[in-house]
Every structure is written in structure tokens, then in C-alpha cells.
Amino acid sequence: MTTVKDSADTLGPDENTVDDLSSADTVDTPERPAAPPPVRRRTSATTPQDRWVALGCAVSATLLTWFVMHELLTSPGWLADLVVAYLLYLAMLYLVTRDRLGHLAATDRLVSAVVVSGAAGLLVPLLFLLGYIVTKGLPSLRLAFFTHDMSSVAPTDPATATGGLHAIVGTLEQTALALVFVVPLGVLTAVFLNETRSRFRRPVRIFVDAMSGLPSVVAGLFVYAALILPPVQSGFSGFMATLALTMIMLPTVTRTVDVVLRLVPDGLREASLALGASRARTVWSVVLPTARTGVSTAIILGIARVVGETAPLLFTSFGSLSMNYNPFGDPQESLPRFVYRYIKEPLASAQERGYIGALVLILLIFALFALTRLIGRQRWSSRRTKPRSDR
């Protein structure tokens, strides 16, 4: 027991020395001559000069492109100009940098430029698309959109009179019902693929892969042919759409959870088994909680996969102009269906309704993502705040 005490003491002095130092510091400072504040060194690899060079290359590439494409040749269009200017810019940047700093630095700069422009090339269309939808949809978006359906709106009414509650309710119900099927099935399948030694893992994995390649319209067609046409004749309903969406969502969720479970270290499984746990208990109490964030990511990806699907809804939930809270009977609207319905109309006000629907769909997806993230992290945040409240 004394030895334990000793080593506990050896841990103690750390704090003391810290205290001593700080107290010595406060005593000493008035006597010391004021030292100049330390100058922080710049460690950034790019200098202002580099930026001027990049700007110069960009300007000369633009001018050269204009000269070649419009003075010497006839440009086939702005896209060709862009490609030529981009390639000229890269070439100039490489040559100028090689002249200044040598071959290695030039290659480095060239690759950096390609990588950065790749990221920008991905972001710009996304922001453009979001901006486009917002500018088209936001001016006519009124609170009434969230409180009314389209049954009392005449086709000639202005876009501000649009009501989309029936579509929002439909989307939420169909997606939520699909989640009810997909989450248990997908997680169980992933557990089967990862945690068992069954001979059937290979064929199941191949099936899941094949399913993820299934065109969404085929999923809808299958439900239509199998359940809505005679002899079953269950009729159009939100639930039929749910079934089609389930088929699309299941492989996405299964594959993602599969990958996430594979990332859980084997050491944790062994630790659990060595404590006397069964395999099922290990999966439930150790593997899945460890992979919690990953599983919530899988659900997000699953939602993202289906919430904007339009094709399978056309002949399963069919669509409707009025509110239908019951997903199990009668046609039901959903947001993608709503957008599709109005965007193809010739009337400008109807098209605007479509843009409002698209905007609300995007907002809804953001909200669902945020919610899923919150649920995935809730446990940790509550744990972290606990000790603080104890003190």
C-alpha cells in the first residue's frame, strides 16, 4: 500500500512545480527590463510575390485567350474559352515558377493549383445551384405554404398563394416509414455481413451491391406491377411509395453501416468476449454504440438517397392536390412530386410554385441532416456536460 502512496506522490509534484514557476514569474516581472514582444515567424509557404505571380498569370492567360479565340479564331463558345484559359494559366504558372524557384517548386505549385481549382469547380456549381433555387423560390415563399394545401388554390392564382403542406406531410411520412423498414433491416444485414461467419455472407454482399445499382424508376415500376396492378390491386398510396423508397434506400444504408462496422477495432470485440459476453451482446452493447456516429451518417446518406426521388413516386403514391394524412390509403403528394407537377407547366406562376417546392425540399433535407447529427451525438454531449454540473 505504501508503494502506491509513493507513486501517487510522485505524480503530485507536477502541480507544485507549475505553481512555483508561476509565483516566481509574478515576483520577477517588475524587475526585469521590458522585453520586446516576440515576433511571430511567417511559416506560410506562399509569399505576396507568389500571389502577384498567380494574378499576373491569370490576367495574361485571359488576355491571351481573348486574343487567340476571338481575334485569330472564331470561338465555339464560352466553355471552350474557359478550358483554353485554364490550361494557359496552368502552363504560365508552371513556367514562371520554374524560372523563379526551380522545377520542384513549379510542380508543387502546379499540382496545388489543379487541386484548388478542382475543389472550386465542385463548390461553385453547388453554390450557384443553391443561389438559383433561393432567388427563384424565396420571393414567393409565404407562411401559407406551410399551412395550406393546393385544393383551394386556382391555377391562375399568383405564386404567393401556393400551399405545400400536403407535399411536406407526404414526404415526411413516406421517408419516415421507409426509415422504419430500412434502419433495422440495414443494420441487421450489416451485422450479419460483419459479425457472423456464415457461408451466405458473400452472396448477400453481392445482392446488396446489385441492389444499389437498381434504377429508382425500376423500383417504382416493380411496386406498381406487383402490388398496384391486378391481381393485388392495393391502389395508389404513400405506403406504396414507401416500399419503392425502401428498396432504393436499403442497399445504401446496409453498405455504409457495413463499412462503419468494419472500422470498429477487433480489440473491442475481443475485450467484450473476454469478459464473458455473447456475440449478440457484444454487437448490441459494444460494436453498435462504438459505431453510433457512423450509423447516423449511414441514415443521413439513406435519407439523402431517397428524399429527392421523383421517378418511383409517379406510379406508386401518384400525387394529389389536397391533404392526405393517411399514407396507407389514397394518393399522396410529396415534395419532389410537387416540384415535378408544377415545373413542367407553361404558366410562369406555376413554375414559380415548383421553385418554392424545390427550396422547401432543400431546407427539409438540411433540417433532417441536422436532426440526425444531433441524435447521433446526443449521448456524448450529455456525458461531457455531466462532470461540470457535478462540480
Binding site: S272, A274, G276, A277
Partner: protein, 275 residues
């Protein structure tokens, strides 16, 4: 401090292993991975209340043997074995004996610390109860007792709800020891528990091993000769020739193995001539 030292009644768990340390004995244990024989005819007695060290160079089957002792060997898909492992005289591989039951009575600490990252320190200690279905009336007392035995209580008692993964490597390993001790096993197997740790943490864990050996039989695999000498009562020297399975060259009391070994290879190994 005084109330910890004077704690009269140790906290007991219900539905766990029978109390006290147990004797572990292997008889004619062979092990294969696929068709490759990696361990041949290991017969070794590991007496209750004592620390047995398994020493020998890498790849001689020490860890495989250790994993056979609590039926972790069979988790490797291609693995198979022959022979018996007797826990207080009863074969843990006998028909009708569940691997879970054997593992509950024979705990294990691994080379790499593996606390459950999704659980707090407290939940990590109590994980064994939940996982193995063992009950305990005084959970707070059990947490304190287990962490105290593992030499970690003082360092973590103010942050029992912090995540277990936030501790240092040495603390994590002691947390894993506390987790194994919480279900109160009869035997504790340790697979190079200090190989990833700094000297200070190693010393703490060695103290822990010495302290817990009155409650539980300890079998430890180590590459560190001094460690084997410091903590163990018995030693078994494993050796595998080239393309040959591992065998026990010599076993006996630690003084004998390190002082006057009978086999020249043991002498060379414990004196650092090879391996």
C-alpha cells in the same frame, strides 16, 4: 484515505464466478492454425494465488497458449486445438461447457489497451456486469474497489463520467485491468500488458499484479525478463525451433529458471544471449 484502507467488506457480485482464485492446468495442449502446428504438447500447472509468467522469444506460441486458456483461440476462423484445460479440475473445453462461462471465470487483459470508447470510465468498469449478465447491488462501491485494485482510483475518481478513451495509455491499461477485475474472475490472463507502456506505468501495473494475486490467479506473457523476475512466482520458458511448433522447454519456480536453469537454452535466453 482511512476509510478506503479500513473498508471492511469487499463488494461482491452476484451471478458471477465463485469467489476466490482457482488453479489452472493445461494437459497435452496442441494448437493449429489451419494445417500448421504452432504449439505442441504443453502441460503446465498454474497454481492458485500465484503469478505464472510465460516467457520466450516472439512466435513461440505463448500468446496462442494464453488465448487457449480462456477459449479466445477458437475465435480465429482457422484455429483448432487438442488437449485439456482444467479450471479447478474441470475441463473448460468439455462438452456442454459454454465458452462464455469459461471467459467469465478467466478474464483477460490484452497487449493494446482497449477500453470501450463509447463508454465513460465508470461504465467501462461496469461493462463486464452488463455484458456477462452479472449483478451487483453496490455499483459505486464496485467501481471504487475495482479501480482501487487496479491502482487507478486516485487519478480518476473526480472524472468517472469522462470518456475512457481520454486517459493516457497506462491509465487505459489499468482501466482495462479494473474492468476485468470487476466481474471478479478466478484467473486473470495478461498478454504483454506493459509492452506499449512507459516505465512508470509499467511499474504501476506490476504493483497491481502483485497486489491482486491474493484474489486471483495471474498468468502473464512478457518479453521483459526483469518483469518476469519481479512479478512472478513461476516461469515457463517457451521456444520454437525453425519451422517447428513451440514447446515448453522448461518450467519451474522463478528463482530456479533465472538462477539455475537445467536447460542451456533457458540459461542463454534469461541471460539475454538470444531472443
Amino acid at each position: 484515505m482511512t476509510e478506503i484502507l479500513d473498508a471492511p467488506q469487499p463488494v461482491r457480485v452476484v451471478g458471477g464466478p465463485p469467489p476466490g482464485a482457482a488453479t489452472l492446468e493445461s494437459r497435452g495442449v496442441h494448437a493449429w492454425f489451419g494445417d500448421r502446428l504452432v504449439l505442441e504438447d504443453v502441460s503446465l500447472a498454474m497454481p492458485a494465488h500465484e503469478v505464472t509468467a510465460l516467457i520466450g522469444p516472439s512466435g513461440c506460441g505463448k500468446s496462442t497458449f494464453l488465448r487457449i486458456l480462456n477459449r479466445m483461440h477458437e475465435l480465429v476462423p482457422s484455429a483448432s486445438l487438442a488437449g485439456e484445460v482444467l479450471l479447478d479440475g474441470a475441463d473448460i473445453y468439455a462438452d456442454g461447457t459454454r465458452a462464455q462461462h469459461a471467459r467469465l471465470r478467466i478474464g483477460m487483459v490484452f497487449q493494446k489497451p482497449n477500453p470501450f470508447p463509447a463508454m465513460s470510465i465508470r461504465d467501462n468498469v461496469l461493462a463486464g456486469l452488463k455484458l456477462a449478465g452479472v449483478k451487483c447491488g453496490d455499483k459505486d462501491g464496485l467501481v471504487e474497489q475495482s479501480l482501487e485494485r487496479a491502482g487507478l482510483w486516485r487519478e480518476v475518481r473526480d472524472r468517472l463520467h469522462a470518456p475512457g478513451g481520454a486517459l493516457s495509455g497506462g491509465q487505459q491499461q489499468r482501466l482495462c485491468i479494473a474492468r476485468s477485475l470487476a466481474v471478479q474472475p478466478n484467473v486473470l490472463l495478461m498478454d504483454e500488458p506493459c509492452s506499449a507502456l512507459d516505465p512508470t506505468s509499467t511499474r504501476r501495473i506490476e504493483q497491481t499484479i502483485v497486489e491482486i494475486s491474493d484474489e486471483v490467479t495471474v498468468v502473464i506473457v512478457t518479453h521483459n525478463m526483469q518483469q518476469a523476475q519481479r512479478v512472478s512466482h513461476h516461469c515457463a520458458f517457451f521456444l520454437a525451433g525453425e519451422n517447428e511448433p513451440g514447446r515448453v522447454v522448461e518450467h519451474g519456480s522463478t528463482e530456479q529458471i533465472f538462477g539455475e536453469p537445467e536447460d542451456s537454452r533457458t540459461h542463454d535466453y534469461v541471460n539475454g544471449r538470444f531472443g
